[in-house]
Symmetry: C2
Subunit: 229 residues, 2 copies
């Protein structure tokens, strides 16, 4: 039995990565979600629902207060940008060192449950502006985690698996659909409406809607009228 | 003005590292302590007292629930070992990936406040059994943090400073005394008595008491009668 720790936000990417780990690789999966002071907790419910639907071994939510660090529109009291998907550079929705923190906690968990793999839905195509989604970062983290954990020292080094790293959004969606993932359980929006449904206007909604279109599939989530306000 | 983020547990080592950063380097210091589910919170009070006594710019406590990960006598309901200082291998007081998690949060904080240095009181002499205190790990982390943060990408790479790395405990204590650190504010014990004072029997107390003896100095903390039960 091969164990894996899977970072699961409840979004499209991480849910697809989990489906890959469970259904393609056949790994026994321990999923980790984070209550990190994000402005809405809808994604925590989504993570729990996706984990249940894929029959993971264990799902845990870890509290880590990234608000105490500051510096992001996703945790601070700053407006999430809408309808501006083409700006260059690092987006203000970038949370400082988020993947570094999440991967570190996953490494601790992997050590604790004796998992050999950490699975992350990082993607360099849509998130090229996020330094902590880049292949060189993931490679460096793997090396660092091997040196900094008991498991690595004792000879069962961790592997960081990023199965979606080089896929376009429509390819990710096709993979998930092939694996029978129920996308109605996933949530991607940075700034959901009061009823929990996506805004249809933030970067994350934009990528998702475009991905379903290009995949020739229908997103099971309802979006508001695209005419906008 | 050079800014640094300093990991501060309130123990002897991290407090000395902070004194070094403030008084020897003259850096403007942002200290970080962690409420990570440790069995006692006396160290959080100590961190706050030490930070105040050294006049840091800002002191923050970040909650991160390492108990959700498990695997250590410091967070689980497992007895802390006493009077057995000579065992080989990785001690059960090792918390999986703790320094990796703490350094990652410090990297996020450094990015947020535009600090160029992260200071950690890691020590390879007394803690050779802890993989995340080794020089190769700290070097790998520095590389990883540079690749995974906006600051690194934009050309102001972080430096990890471990000024105590190769010092013996008595040398650390002499350094702190030279810098005017008040060791009565620091706490090192893994398993303090109900009145908050050190047990005098765990590994950490043992190293501290021996260090003061070898430094030819007096530990301002009171210890119980060494005859023991």
């Amino acid at each position: 039995m091969t164990r894996a720790v899977v970072l699961l936000s409840g979004g499209l990417d991480s849910s697809t990565a989990l489906a890959w780990a469970v259904r393609r690789k056949g790994w026994t999966c321990h999923t980790l979600a984070f209550d990190y002071g994000q402005r809405h907790s809808i994604e925590l419910e989504a993570a729990s629902n996706v984990a249940r639907s894929l029959g993971v071994f264990d799902h845990r939510v870890i509290r880590v207060d990234l608000r105490a660090i500051g510096g992001s529109a996703l945790t601070d009291d700053v407006e999430v940008p809408k309808d501006r998907h083409k700006e260059a550079g690092i987006p203000i929705t970038y949370v400082p060192a988020r993947n570094l923190v999440f991967l570190s906690l996953a490494a601790g968990m992997a050590e604790s449950v004796q998992a050999r793999h950490i699975v992350i839905g990082a993607n360099v195509v849509d998130y090229s502006g996020y330094p902590d989604c880049r292949p060189a970062f993931l490679k460096a983290f793997e090396q660092c985690a091997r040196l900094g954990t008991k498991a690595g020292v004792e000879g069962t080094p961790l592997h960081i698996e990023a199965p979606l790293l080089h896929l376009h959004k429509h390819q990710i969606i096709r993979l998930g659909l092939e694996l029978g993932l129920d996308y109605s359980l996933t949530r991607s929006c940075y700034d959901p409406l009061p009823n929990g449904m996506p805004c249809g206007r933030c970067d994350s909604c934009h990528f998702r809607m475009e991905g379903f279109r290009q995949a020739g599939a229908t997103d099971p989530l309802p979006y508001p009228d695209q005419a906008g306000p």
